[in-house]
């Protein structure tokens, strides 16, 4: 009884969806932006439904599996213009041209009422590697730091870029489904605090999506990183209509351009051009990874999001496969 009452109340709220963008996924996400019954989440942990939008690459499959297993129960996956993975039983598929809102709402309702079973994990619930810590207390590498217990690289000393103090660095992989990165782009970052020490491209971004104004989608992603979700949604809706009217003025009112410091003048120029619906030219000579070193997290995301797909493909191609790294189980933080 209580459960049914809870479901009755809960199904009235907006359906929290985490959208994993494949090719064209960006434009498909924009179609959902104006639907109040769907709320697109930033973290997979906050969602109930994983929506795989657009075709994905073979290389993205492991990340997709890990992403799925981070969804809290009750959960479901919807394949919108994408081919379901073999693990997905009773898969819900929607053609790319169709609008998924009605299906998503019905699925959400069934999940909450318990009429559809929650999806099980796709990966075994065990550490990807066995414990390989060293020392009396399993503390891993040198002294109290470093080492790779369970195949996870732990923090280890590295030189701080800003004033050469040796501090601990930690390596993580972000993407390819992180909302604030261009779809498909996956980066391996070595961080000290929120400062990026080193970056490596794991998989490149998808080419530009069709069906919507690409510069406006890019602007929406940057506005999202600037903490302006409402304006970002407005930019997505404008991208669907392909009219940038009033967007630049609204962004100016919110201080979106003023918030960018002088070091990010290039980002500011590209954001301004994108908000007008155009693209500022970039010579594209320096590698993306070189431009990221020493940057703080938010600035780095803003800079990555500011490049148009053509430039991004030029400056951030896939890295050569690294011989030394056989175990590719870096902790996936796509959520």
């Amino acid at each position: 009884m209580a459960v049914r009452a809870l479901a009755w109340l809960a199904e009235r709220s907006a359906t929290p969806v985490y959208i994993a963008c494949g090719q064209d996924g960006d434009a498909m996400a924009a179609r959902l932006a104006q639907v109040p019954a769907i709320s697109l989440q930033h973290s997979i942990r906050h969602a109930a439904i994983l929506l795989v939008a657009g075709p994905y690459r073979d290389a993205d499959r492991p990340a997709l599996r890990r992403l799925h297993d981070q969804l809290p129960h009750p959960r479901a996956t919807v394949w919108w213009g994408a081919v379901p993975l073999a693990e997905a039983q009773d898969a819900v598929t929607i053609a790319q041209g169709d609008h998924p809102v009605a299906r998503l709402r019905r699925l959400d309702r069934n999940l909450l009422r318990g009429e559809r079973a929650s999806e099980p994990d796709w990966l075994p619930d065990e550490p990807p590697n066995e414990w390989r810590g060293k020392g009396d207390h399993g503390q891993g590498g040198e002294g109290m730091m470093g080492g790779v217990p369970y195949g996870r690289p732990m923090a280890m000393m590295g030189e701080e870029m800003r004033d050469a103090l040796m501090l601990d660095a930690m390596t993580i992989t972000i993407g390819p489904f992180l909302r604030t990165l261009p779809p498909g782009l996956s980066l391996e970052l070595t961080l000290q605090g929120d400062v990026i020490q080193q970056a490596r491209v794991v998989t490149p971004a998808y080419p530009a999506s069709g069906g919507a104004s690409e510069p406006l989608l890019r602007a929406a992603r940057m506005l999202e990183s600037l903490g302006l979700p409402d304006l970002a949604r407005r930019a997505q809706i404008s991208a669907m209509r392909d009219s940038a009217e009033g967007l630049l003025a609204a962004a100016r009112r919110c201080g979106a351009l003023l918030a960018l410091p002088a070091e990010l003048a290039d980002v500011r120029a590209r954001l301004e051009a994108a908000l007008r619906g155009g693209t500022a030219p970039d010579p594209g000579e320096e590698w993306l990874v070189d431009r990221l070193a020493g940057m703080e997290w938010q600035s780095a995301l803003l800079r990555i999001a500011s490049f148009d797909p053509a430039t991004l493909a030029q400056i951030a191609p896939a890295a050569e496969p690294d011989e030394d790294e056989e175990d590719g189980d870096e902790k996936e933080r796509a959520a």
């Binding site: 459960v3 809870l6 479901a7 109340l9 809960a10 009235r12 709220s13 907006a14 929290p16 109040p36 930033h42 973290s43 942990r45 906050h46 109930a48 981070q70 809290p72 129960h73 009750p74 909450l112 550490p127 930690m170 993580i172 992180l178 909302r179 604030t180 961080l191 605090g193 929120d194 506005l223 999202e224 990183s225 600037l226 903490g227 302006l228 979700p229 409402d230 009112r253 919110c254 201080g255 979106a256 003023l258 918030a259 960018l260 410091p261 990010l264 703080e296 997290w297 938010q298 600035s299 995301l301 803003l302 902790k331 933080r333 959520a335």
Partner: protein
Amino acid sequence: MTAIPLVFALLAAGIWFAAIAERFASARRFPSAIVLAPLWQAARLLSQQRVRTEYPDALNWALAPLVYGALAVAGLSVVPFAPGLVVAPLDTGIVLWGACEALTIVAVFLHGWSANSMLPLIGGYRFVAIGLPAMLLSMFVLIAAALPAQSLAVGAIVESQRSMWNMVRQPLGLPLFLLLGLAISLRGPMDYGDASDLSGGTAAEVSGPHRLAWGIARLAMLTAFAAMGASVFLGGYLGPWLPGPAWLALKTAALLLVLTWLGCNLARMPAPRMMAALWLVLLPLSFLDLVIAGVEALL
């Protein structure tokens, strides 16, 4: 003892009001469904699983939202609803509020750190760097407000505004104080803890009831802050015709609206720039505020 139910009534109303105001500010229209939307959202979070990360510090992780909410209640306990109508009539009211601010930073950091995940850790770490200077300048602003009252008790500060509100007497005070409000309730331009660029920052790994508790604690802190700001700068319960608690509630609601609007409509600058702004521009401004208050007290 009638003050205790009043505190909880104000908190509950404030949380509800702020949740609705947030939705209104982002939708820019007012469908009647918005009034019940917080309840529906709460029901959804209650019916969702609470996920566990790998090797979290489970105790601190679960404790963080509770501490955050308890600090909001503690902060509200020194706010008077009418002359003498206050839960904790402390002589050191604003020092207690300052301690609550400082411990809030600890609670948010712990929430990020104990999840044992990278993005929440960065959120907590970054929040401390911004939160500490913001808290520092709020203390100067509060001391300036205490000067004309010649007391550290919140009740005395309210009484000292019978002739003129502190908002008018010390024009720099309220804007600087609002900055802290945005920071400790993790909102908009000062949201360095739970930011969207970190996929939700310290809350990136939480789901279900835990996320509900965290959300409620955030709104409770926002409400406590608004009530404190209303008492220190807008004359609290003072006002004609209506009884004291009603005036306090109205002024709190007004500040809640201002904070929500600011939170939705201001861009967040990268942390290093905000840090420079806080230390180099805003902290000196808070000293100036203190000087103005001192000169006024001498005249």
